[in-house]
């Protein structure tokens, strides 16, 4: 079936069956590969995108449920004030190692900072709990969120 998908400010008509995860439409149909496949069961957060500004796991968000919603991916974060601050912090602290989970980490971090501009370390841990990083870059993720908060407050 044809579905109208609003993604990163543009409207796309995509042909996908109901039940198709948003993740695979973004990656395979629209060829935006910054959003990653890690587990397929919403257990790692590598596929995190924003739906109307809120982080969601795109592997468990189905195409029929996103019609009319505004979907934003990592590729658009440079143009977002909070996104750009998080990316700057990530570069300053060299948070990444393999980098495969980091799109999802950044999308979640942006969600947190929009909700809470000055989180504590404990609040970062609580919010980011569902984003796995097998390289275990966690302490830089924590520091990166706190640094992004500083950048935004300045």
């Amino acid at each position: 079936m044809a579905i109208s998908l609003k993604l990163n400010g543009e409207t796309h008509s995509v042909d996908a069956e109901p039940g198709t995860p948003l993740l695979w439409v973004i990656r395979d149909e629209l060829k935006l590969t910054g959003t990653k496949f890690g587990c397929g069961v919403a257990s790692c957060g590598a596929c995190t995108v924003h739906m109307d500004g809120e982080p969601v796991r795109s592997c468990q968000t189905f195409i029929e449920d996103v019609e009319g919603a505004e979907i934003t991916t990592i590729e658009k974060m440079e143009e977002d004030k909070v996104g750009a601050a998080v990316q700057q912090a990530w570069r300053e602290l060299d948070v990444v190692q393999c980098g495969y989970c980091q799109s999802g980490q950044i999308m979640s971090a942006v969600g947190l900072l929009r909700e809470n501009a000055t989180p504590s370390a404990e609040e970062v841990d609580e919010y980011m709990y569902g984003n796995a990083c097998r390289c275990a870059t966690y302490q830089r993720i924590r520091a990166g969120v706190l640094r992004a908060s500083e950048i935004l407050e300045a």
């Binding site: 695979w24 395979d28 590969t33 570069r91 060299d94 393999c98 990083c133 302490q139």
Partner: protein, 724 residues
Amino acid sequence: MTTNLSRRGFLKSAAAVTAVLYVGATPDGAAAASSSEAMLNPFVKIDSNGQIIAIIKHFEKGQGPATGLSTLIAEELGVTMDQIGYEFAPSNPEVYNNLFFGPFQGTGGSTAMANSWMQYRTAGANAREMLIKAAAKAWEVDASGLDIQGGLIIGNGKSSPLGDFVAAAAQIAPSETPRLREASEWKIIGNESTRRLDSPIKVNGQAKFGMDVHLPNQMVVMIKRTPQRGGLVAGFDDSAAKDVKGYIMAMPLPTNHGVAVYADNTWAAMQARNAIDVEWDMSAAETRSSVEIRDEVMAALEAAPVYNVNQADRTGIAGAVDSAASLVEKTFYFPLLAHAPMEPMNCTIEQTAEGDIVLHDGAQMPTGPHMAYQQIFQLPPEKIHIKTMLAGGSFGRRATPDADYQVEAALAFVDTDRTRPVKLVWDREDDIRGGYYRPATGHKVRVGLDTDGNITAWEHQVAGQSIMKGTAFEAFSVKDGVDHSTVEGLADSPYAIPNMAVGLTDTEKATSVLWWRSVGHTHTAYVMEVMMDMAAKAAGRDPVAFRLAYLTGSKDADRKAAVLKLAAEKGNWGAPAAGNVQGIAVHKSFGSFVAEVVEVSGTPVDGIQIEKVTAAVDCGIAVNPDVIRAQTEGAIGYGIGHAMRDQITLDGGAVEQSNFPDYEPLRISDIKAIETHIMPSAEAPTGIGEPGTPPSAPALANAIAQLDVQVAELPMSENGVSFA
């Protein structure tokens, strides 16, 4: 930029120059590969805009070689890190082999920096000297008065960008012994402010991993695998799959180890695979359970060992232990573990119009699939090309001796008409259940102490599944029957332990086993360091002081002692925060020395919280200090996360875990803080990808032992410890 034609030109010139540098043949000159870019040697390329490219022979799975090897080139050449870029080398073991692996291109054993250190510095220095000679000739001045600084050739009152002299420099023969810059001249090596070259593309979604390859008209293939390893396809029914939009076809792999399911995209492949019914011939399949595997290991520990690893007087040492004033003994067991890198295995294979085969892969050991593909496609090596993509982690998984997933992709491609590229995709369930685990291993140790609490004898028995035996790497690690990778870190430890006997018995391989970040050290360090703590306790001595007594008499012992003391000092050893307890461990692996203090709060009943890990690292010269810290942080997390709560178990031969909900990764809140201190050193660089892992789990165990729970079987969560 790179067509197949220029790639071959590049390979040819690269091979010619390598012969000059490393074999000493007569140079024909390092000819430019094309008009737009010049290879000064196999590791340095400069384009007409003066953009300098370091050619990286090691794949990047996050451990930092893209930045590290570029650092060496930039330092010697005389350019800044924002003036240099990087590309991954093509598969060519004559030019890009790991110098520690022989004629084999690959990454592993924490060797990327160690084996490249002199090679890449020499390449950078040669490029500098060639450019300077070209400028000196043009300027009609003596080359000795010129240098390259900040990307400019300077001297004699003149200054010029490198690009102006690249073409002339490429005609100059490289020296076998170019002048390397003195440590006192270094501006980038050891510089704290150097950032990773791959950070920008990894924070904006532009980084391309193997999983991100989309070739025109490609098919996605997923494999329906046997539930128990060793099962074979007896037949299948894909009638239900035909209703899946995008499903193309299914056929058994030529080996019958699974059914390859072809579809137009990933989601269709996943759905079609679910819809296919396969009849399996399980007559040769693994049927044992984890309990049986553990029983076999434990029984082997009670029998006389097959191998006397360090040619010890076993009878005499057993007698010395028996007659010691006091005895400390413990039996340990370590379960199978999956690597579970974030990016599940995948690769993409295509055939060019010329009939060449191209593999797009986060290739850890390109020579493996390169050799396998020669057989599968009946092609000479120059008709096979490997394009190395970024890899989303590995921890050892991508380096299988049988090139497992690359071969799987080739088998799924070879019998098609080859007009459509094949992208093989594993999902997380394939990854967790698909084999290649850290071996299940047991240790039994008996340590004798005299009345003063000194060690008099140490009897140590190991039983486990050999990683190397029966593989292409057997000759690399197995000597006189002993697979060193099962016992590394015991008899060869820098501890000066008197009367030590190490015995080994191989047990049957339950499933395919593989190196897992730090290989044998994952269990040997645990056993050594827990035993050291238990012996110190029995002797009534402080664990640090007790260890230091055995760290004498060799340079390695001195270096190990130094990191132990540094970690103790920086980690406030002996003075934890109120209500906390500490544990410590130290280990040498891959040429590097790491000590860690773990401080925890809580109790094993109510939940342990890891408050802080303080690490001290000696890995020789710290090329990129911040990368070293990052690798240490990650290695600690990897070691501790699995020790806390992970294991792979089999029930009737089938793996019981399937995905992250039941193979739970370390999470952000599990460790509140990690602090890494780097020991200043003038020694050549050694490994850092793995050495932070071995001491992490025993340091945690030693902390928890302060709360009267001595964990000798992992994971801790299944053996008396709950976590907050």
